[in-house]
Amino acid sequence: MPEIAFSQTARVVVPAGSFHSVLPEVEGEPVAVDSFYMDETAVTNEEYLEFLKDNPEWKRSKIPPVFTNNGYLREWKSDLDPGYENVGVNRPLTRVSWYAANAYCAAQGGRLPTLNEWEYSAQLMEFDSDAEMNTFSSGLINWYSGIDVKNLAEVGSTGIENTEGIKDQFGLVMEWVEDFKPIIADELSLDCGTVGRMNTLGSVYSYAASIRYITRMSFNPKITTGMVGFRCAYDVPAPSSQNNINGETL
């Protein structure tokens, strides 16, 4: 068994701004988002293992059933052994419930990003042309139809990052957010027309976004699946002890 070095994920500052959500919004008023910090990459198995050592009540054998369905950390060899020969090194953690994700982020002094924070960050991408954006978005839709959970890539390896340097919000796993099932989810009723009604920007980009929103809204907080991981958000920069180039104060 190789020795796995535990490294704190870099926190990246996401400056305040606004974006168009595919959820209904006041016409002409994009959703404003305050600045916040977010993990550069998704939480890995190694990082979660460290959390479990400090918080044994979240171990697979200890977690209360109100906080998870069966299948929590299903692929792990044992309570404190991810079994890197199976799950790989530096791969995103999956098969954790929303509750567990919350607890992890709280233990890091953070929280899950809100839906709007996550989406705003994810959509901070620059494309040279509409054609390029459409190609990217079509690829994204195809990816949503075929996430290969048995062969997840390493975090930071997708080559997809936003303008601030936050990596893999697309192309690796889907991610928990704090309010993944906003109240509006019931109103939208998630029927066949939902994709069309959400296609507010009239582009392939918003089509891809609507699939992401709908899929996420269809979960309940106890679900653990091989395609859902998470990263944390913070209201403050990383502690100064952490050597982090992006951790400047706002």
Binding site: A103, A106, I147, V149, K181, D186, V195, S218
Partner: protein, 377 residues
């Protein structure tokens, strides 16, 4: 740093639970025009189930239809789980399909008008389920697939939320057709109030993606009083037309092609889920026999102009309802999710080609063979 489960986590969790249990449905059963409406509220739960994914006596693999060997009405207990399977849809073309019951299209359920169905479905998209081995307690479908796995199924994982929309059911979709996440199970009742052949499909958006990925099948509801020619029918087959929108992926597998799907440009249009299955395994009949086809066009987006080369349809019941009778039709136009019950007299020994007379579809695969032997007296 050691922390107990935070109070906030708990609180927010309780709010979520509260929200999800606020849904309620009509539970008062009532009769109208001889039909039954008002089904109890659907249940969503988790279960430790790893048994056969398709359970029920009257469930078969295409093109077979289980005979209804009971009189009057029956209460069916049916399970059709959701699974991901890598399947072959044409020579050399494999993809990871989202399926009901493990095949595309899913299993054929046969019931009689007025039957009640208690339906259970587990979303097993996050576990590997083998469907090519006979399963104890499974439906005839399971054995038929084990004996004839023509899509060369192998298990795969692709966790997604899914749902079930039976067109044969008359219920509130926000209750019964609810989306369930990986690992969850839904259970609900419905009554087959109308005779006919009805598609079922996943109704979780994007419906285009979910249906094109393989989540559809049919229920055949035989009329209470039958069709007028029932006593003359020698053979029955179920034919489902559908489209695939696939493109070569980075490895050996094909993947969903969003562009093609949004442009109505299928890579394959097929009968019974495989481009050549009805040629590799032709339907059989003899000259002079009356063959009945239950034909459904499951789309998701195309139409079918169903025709049999060399035959004329003696009777056609549009949507399979015995009142919608037509005679002497050469071609039946089926919209997306449309169906017909068709009788054809097989004229003489030889080959007859089932075809979507929209030739662009035929050339993408929507053809099949009916092989007729000599007349038997």
């Amino acid at each position: 740093m050691k922390r107990a489960i935070s109070k906030i986590t708990l609180l927010v969790g309780m709010i979520f639970f509260g929200m999800s249990s606020m849904l309620s449905a009509q539970t008062e059963e009532y009769k109208l025009d001889g039909m039954t409406f008002g089904m109890p509220e659907a249940e969503v739960y988790t279960e430790d189930y790893n048994g056969p994914p398709v359970v029920g006596e009257y469930i078969t693999q295409l093109p077979n239809l289980a005979p209804l060997d009971y009189e009057g009405n029956k209460h069916h207990e049916v399970r059709i789980d959701i699974m991901v399977q890598e399947i072959e849809v044409a020579e050399g073309v494999r993809y990871q399909a989202w399926t009901f019951g493990g095949t595309v299209p899913g299993p054929v359920l046969h019931v009689r008008e007025g039957d009640r169905i208690t339906f259970v479905m587990k979303n097993r998209s996050d576990e590997e389920v083998t469907i090519t081995e006979p399963a104890k307690g499974g439906s005839p479908f399971m054995n038929q697939v084990a004996n004839n796995p023509y899509q060369k199924n192998s298990s795969a994982i692709m966790p997604m939320p899914h749902s079930m929309d039976f067109h044969a059911g008359t219920v509130a979709k926000d209750d019964k057709w609810r989306t369930i996440g990986p690992g969850e199970t839904i259970k609900f009742d419905w009554i087959a109030n109308y005779a006919g052949t009805y598609i079922y499909h996943c109704g979780t958006p994007s419906v285009l993606m979910h249906t094109a990925m393989g989540q559809h099948g049919v229920v055949v509801v035989s009329p209470k009083e039958g069709y007028p020619t029932d006593y003359e029918v020698d053979r029955e087959y179920v034919i489902v037309q559908s489209e695939y929108y696939l493109t070569k992926g980075s490895g050996d597998l094909y993947t969903y092609d969003f562009e093609a799907a949004s442009n109505n440009n299928p890579s394959h249009v097929v009968f019974n889920g495989h481009q050549t299955i009805l040629h590799d395994q032709p339907l059989k009949a003899n000259a002079g026999e009356r063959v009945r086809f239950h034909v459904s066009n499951n789309g998701p987006s195309g139409t079918s102009s169903f025709h049999v080369i060399g035959g004329i349809f003696d009777r056609v019941w549009l949507e399979g309802h015995p009142f919608n009778e037509m005679r002497g039709m050469q071609t039946v136009l089926l919209g997306a999710s449309g169906s017909a019950t068709i009788d054809m007299i097989v004229p003489e020994e030889g080959k007859y080609i089932l075809i979507d007379h929209e030739f662009v579809d035929a050339e993408k695969g929507a053809t099949g063979t009916l092989k007729a032997g000599p007349r038997k007296n």
